[in-house]
């Protein structure tokens, strides 16, 4: 279908996206170290194009995990970020985010700190990427995704929903702060409605090189 062809991302474009993330993340590491008060290790981002049919296999793992999702939008790139953390990840973060000792046992605030870290990681990473692509982005409010221990990531995120997309660019970034034993995976979904703008931005960027 011609429509699908317009959405297809070729190898050159995938490389360009990867490069934008690489550069954006170099900047993110410095910002994150300042905010989180520790050195933050960032994995080289993995970029792939996926279809909705591949989600089940891609996100099969069940988990004792916490999930937070946060939408972002801008002229060149829009989509949704999903952060995956250990269920007890809040423990490592509460002091850093200024929660007092008595606040650290409150469930609502344990949840809040997961929203905080997701917003921090997403903003640090994606604003650099958007800048590379010649635009700005901003974020809507993050929200917790309810995950039962026996459901897979795929079920928690997508099942039972008629997704408004068939294709998406997926970028996976790993974060780790060894000093406080914290790690997270950030999945950046850029769905098909956002791909034409992304392709135009990449085209413009490649031309400028």
């Amino acid at each position: 279908m011609s429509n699908d062809a317009a959405l297809a991302i070729d190898a050159l474009e995938l490389d360009a996206i990867k490069e934008s993330f690489n550069i954006g993340m170099g900047r993110a590491a410095a910002l994150l170290a300042e905010i989180l008060e520790h050195r933050v290790l960032l994995q080289v981002p993995e970029v792939e194009q996926i279809t909705d049919g591949q989600l089940g296999d891609r996100f099969r793992q069940p988990g004792d995990i916490s999930l937070v999702r946060q939408p972002f939008s801008g002229q060149v790139v829009s989509g949704e970020v999903v952060a995956l953390m250990r269920r007890d990840a809040y423990k490592a973060l509460m002091q850093t985010y200024g929660y007092g000792p008595e606040e650290r046992s409150e469930l609502a605030l344990q949840q809040e700190v997961l929203l905080e870290i997701t917003a921090t990681l997403a903003a640090a990473t994606l604003s650099g990427v958007a800048e590379q692509l010649g635009g700005e982005i901003d974020f809507a409010a993050p929200a917790l995704v309810c995950v039962e221990q026996w459901t897979s990531l795929h079920e928690a995120l997508f099942s039972g929903r008629d997704l408004p997309w068939r294709q998406a660019v997926l970028v996976e970034i790993g974060f780790a702060i060894e000093a406080i034993d914290f790690s997270a995976s950030l999945y950046v979904f850029i769905p098909e409605s956002s791909l034409p703008a992304l392709k135009r931005a990449i085209g413009a960027m490649l031309e400028g090189l």
């Binding site: 200024g98 007092g100 605030l109 929203l115 905080e116 921090t120 604003s127 901003d138 993050p142």
Partner: protein, 324 residues
């Protein structure tokens, strides 16, 4: 101090906005904007707040957390949020619907973004406060209702067919009645009721007719009982009733009345009019007797009613060898 140049009407608009709270602080956390909404709900004017440190004005603010949040957005230049679901409010303001609503505090959603000057340099931070009290209360009511529905399904005390209390309720109720009887020295009778030849009703008229008979008997018994009595469907065609403050003498009057009423009642079931009789076995609370024992005694008495010809009642007598 942050100045907005060019269109003085814009800051004026924001300042006058009373539907959304707007607060701006500089990098040292001194307040540079305190709009109408904030004035109204804090009862502090802009003149009283602007120029002062935010945390000096509002010591109850979660300072460490909020400073971290504001510093983060000044570095990342993103928009950040806080939700009433995790943090009911940022500024402790009274709920404006204090007349018609039970919430004392205003529930708030907040958003946070960097305040930049013309050249894009970050000069401070902005906070917007949205009053979401109505929404939060509605949401909480919904959640409570959902919880209650779950509870009702889980611990239903009603028998679906007759609408009478079920055995589960009986088990709890008899404990309460025994406690009251012990505590106040009350009499207390327990009666087991069984519909005579109920199997024959089912076999002759069908199970739907049998169900109608069960409902009809339940209704007839209920009409004869007091509000303080408890009638439960025990299972099958068996009922049990708890009769507080009823002693050995007046329970016989009650039993006679019940027998008469059921005998006289006619149940319209399918295309037939059915009459049935019942048998009763009755026991009385005595000191040192537990609920289980009372049930057993009533059951023994019921057995004697059945073998003695049905359509009658029998009082359990602990001294009578016939019940041993």
């Amino acid at each position: 101090m942050v100045e907005s140049s060019g269109m003085p009407i814009v800051p004026r608009l924001l300042r006058d906005m009373s539907a959304v709270g707007l607060v701006a602080v500089d990098k040292r956390m001194n307040v540079v904007l305190w709009n109408r909404f904030m004035e109204m709900h804090s009862h502090l004017s802009a003149a009283e707040v602007e120029g002062r440190n935010l945390f000096d004005c509002f010591p109850e603010l979660p300072q460490a957390w909020l400073e971290k949040k504001l510093k983060t957005i000044m570095l990342l230049k993103n928009t950040a949020y806080s939700s009433w679901q995790q943090r009911p409010y940022l500024f402790k303001f009274p709920n404006v619907s204090s007349v018609t609503s039970e919430a004392e505090q205003m529930f708030q959603d907040g958003s946070f973004w960097a305040l930049r000057d013309e050249s894009g340099q970050v000069q401070g931070a902005c906070i917007s406060i949205h009053d979401v009290t109505e929404f939060a209360i509605a949401q909480q009511l919904l959640e409570e209702a959902a919880e209650q529905t779950l509870n009702l399904e889980e611990i239903s005390y009603r028998d679906a067919l007759t609408g009478l209390y079920n055995r589960r309720f009986f088990d709890e109720q008899i404990r309460h009645e025994m406690q009251r009887a012990r505590h106040f020295g009350w009499d207390f009778s327990l009666a087991m009721v069984d519909i005579d030849f109920f199997k024959k009703v089912n076999d002759t008229y069908g199970h739907d007719a049998g169900d109608e008979v069960l409902k009809g008997v339940a209704l007839t018994l209920l009409k004869e009982l007091r509000a303080s009595d408890t009638l439960c469907r025990f299972g099958g065609e068996e009922f049990v009733m708890l009769l507080p403050k009823v002693n050995r003498d007046n329970v016989q009057e009650i039993a006679d009345r019940l027998l008469d009423s059921v005998r006289a009642a006619q149940v319209d079931a399918q295309e037939a009019t059915i009459s049935v009789t019942i048998s009763l076995g009755i026991s009385q609370y005595r000191e040192g007797v537990n609920g289980e024992q009372l049930l057993k005694e009533a059951d023994k008495a019921l057995y004697i009613s059945k073998t003695g010809g049905r359509d009658r009642f029998t009082l359990f007598d602990p001294d009578d060898a016939a019940f041993q």
